[in-house]
């Protein structure tokens, strides 16, 4: 899939975290790019490294993490070379908008919504250092209220002077979305923003996100574990398994004709209306002791001996990328030799 100047370019990203029990290789050579104006979903079970990927892009990995990568660039800016101060000044909140997973924990309990949102605005709109309690006068407050109206927060003027605990989960997520879009970022990074919400609120939030990205021609990296959400929202999807990107392609193509065995099983295990549930036997391998070769091999129904030997080379073609011996011809060579 040729990409003309992608908003996000991640190639060969590996992240390992020095824990007490040893070194955990959480991400292993992940490649991902997001074309302008598109929504790319990253799907995987919990423990597949999705959140670590988000944190790596935002540069908020814990100190004990070690990052190796060819490049991680957003809107042309190479993030790896930047230190924390530069990331804060140039990237975070400006080029990159971030929507966290748990709205209950993400908002600072002791500050009014207006104050927290103003902090985001002031960074870049060149405003004078107005008072943090959010009752600043002039243009910024009007802009905040207008943004809240956009994310359908009832009577936004009052909302600015209220505290986080006075809002429901859904409303808090809308506030976080408003904060993320405040400075019209080049890329919005959303880390399972609807997982903590009930189904109906989840649906409204997804509808809102879709409308806003289309309306403001935003590009978004949407992390989730639910293919249903991908189907509703995403243009492209990347399937992550145990720190490796195993399949990438247009959402519709991958959903209708999944190629990688793991992708197939992920799609099939969507709970059917008739209540039958298809789970995936076994569990994601621990990053501490990742097996050689294809990490999915122990759980893969179509596994072949070759899969255990070396890691499958990714095959890129018109309909995207897949990293499995079924497609990259490794099996044929094996049988010829």
């Amino acid at each position: 899939m040729p990409m003309d100047n992608p908003i996000l370019e991640v190639s060969g990203l590996s992240v390992s975290i020095l824990g007490d029990e040893g070194v955990a290789h959480v991400l292993d050579g992940v490649d991902l790019s997001i074309p302008a104006g598109q929504i790319v979903g990253v799907v995987g079970e919990s423990g597949s490294g999705k959140t670590t990927l988000v944190k790596a892009i935002l540069g908020i990995l814990p100190k004990s993490a070690r990052v190796e990568s060819n490049s991680v660039s957003v809107a042309g800016m190479d993030l790896l070379g930047m230190n924390q101060r530069e990331l804060t000044r140039k990237v975070r909140g400006k080029a990159l908008g971030f929507i966290p997973q748990d709205p209950y924990l993400a908002l600072n309990p002791s500050f009014k919504i207006g104050a927290q949102l103003t902090e985001v605005v002031r960074r870049y709109a060149g405003q004078s250092r107005s008072d943090a309690t959010g009752d600043e006068t002039g243009e910024p407050r009007e802009r905040l209220a207008q943004m809240l109206r956009l994310v359908q927060i009832p009577d936004p003027e009052l909302a600015l002077d209220r505290y986080p605990h006075e809002f429901s989960g859904g409303q808090r997520q809308r506030l976080l979305i408003a904060a993320a879009l405040m400075n019209m970022p080049s890329l919005v990074v959303a880390d399972e923003p609807t997982t903590a919400l009930d189904v109906t609120t989840q649906f409204q939030i997804l509808k809102l996100l879709k409308r806003l990205t289309r309306e403001f021609n935003l590009s978004m990296l949407f992390v989730t574990h639910d293919f249903g959400v991908v189907a509703q929202l995403c243009d492209y999807v990347c399937v992550l398994y145990s720190g490796q990107s195993v399949e990438f392609g247009p959402a519709r193509t991958v959903i209708e004709r999944p190629r990688h065995p793991y992708t197939k099983m992920l799609i099939d295990c969507h709970p059917e209306r008739d209540g039958s549930m298809l789970g995936i036997p076994g569990s994601v391998p621990s990053p501490l002791s990742a097996p050689a070769g294809c990490r999915f091999c122990p759980r893969c129904p179509d596994a072949a001996p070759v899969c255990q030997i070396e890691r499958p080379r990714p095959l890129s073609d018109a309909s995207g990328m897949v990293a499995c011996t079924l497609y990259n011809g490794a099996r044929k060579e094996k049988s010829d030799a």
């Binding site: 935002l58 908020i60 924390q84 101060r85 804060t88 990237v91 975070r92 909140g93 400006k94 971030f98 966290p100 748990d102 924990l105 993400a106 908002l107 600072n108 309990p109 002791s110 500050f111 927290q116 902090e119 985001v120 960074r123 870049y124 943090a132 505290y163 605990h165 976080l176 904060a179 993320a180």
Partner: protein, 336 residues
Amino acid sequence: MLRFLIRRVLLLCPVLFGLLVLTFALIRVAPGDPAAAIAGQNTTPEQIEAIRKEYGFDKPLVTQFAIYLGHVAEGNLGTSVYSGLPVIDEIKDRLAATLELTFFGLFIGVVVGVPSGILAALYHNRLPDFLFRSVSIVGVAVASFWLAIMLQLLFSMRLDWLPLGGRLAPGTDAPTTITGLYLVDSLMTGRWDIFVDALKHIVLPAFALSLGSIATLTRFARAGMLETLQKDYITYETAAGFSRHAIILVYALRNSLGGVVTQLGLLFGALIGNAVVVESIFSWPGLGSYSVDAVLNSDYNAILAVSLVIGVIYALINIAVDLMHGLLDPQVAERL
């Protein structure tokens, strides 16, 4: 908020009543015979008996307490065995001296203790953290009189920057009493010269007094900041582009000061209680030395009055502490 204040003030009465009962009982258990103490030296046992009757010490404890409560109700806290003066007059100006010293001491404690605690948290387990923690422990571990005398030797004898003691220089007259706090009164009456003199006299004793509180405030500020920095909203704020400076000094700080505020209440009570050493070395006419004399000389009315006054102040400070908790944490504010 008003409901909270009314409730707490009403709750003040049982606390004070309990305080009086406990102190009254404790005194009677403590050694020393008040009648003999009042009689003074080499008086005959008959004279001591006469005094015992006159002051009613021979009556059963409960009646004595009832009589005492009757007096308190009329606002008469009785007279001191030694000065013959109404105890409330003696306490009045001493209380102002102690409050001024304690407030200034706590101010220094906060200004020095909290920032060092925050810095210690930011350099978690690195050299600055270790240094801040050890230095702050000096205040708790080293005898306050030793520190006080060393301060006198350095700043007053050798450098001669600050006076040795007292509230004002011998030649300076006290400002007209409005609040009894010399610093405040001198400013209110525009007497800049008295203000500077009073400031010079309070700096050393206040610093000596604050040393004890610095250790506690540093440790709790550090613990509070460490805990807060782990919170998810801090991670989110970093990701959302908040500047590190803003996060630490505003957004994390307000959430981390809960522990410090609780300690302020406790520290204030402790400072009044054992300011006696600092007061004696810096000749500060406060409540500390007065209450110790009262205890050692079984001056009952003075002891009861001091406990009552300190009890009231302590309760008011606790109310203030709870209000400050409300300021810091809106959810607590709602429950007030």
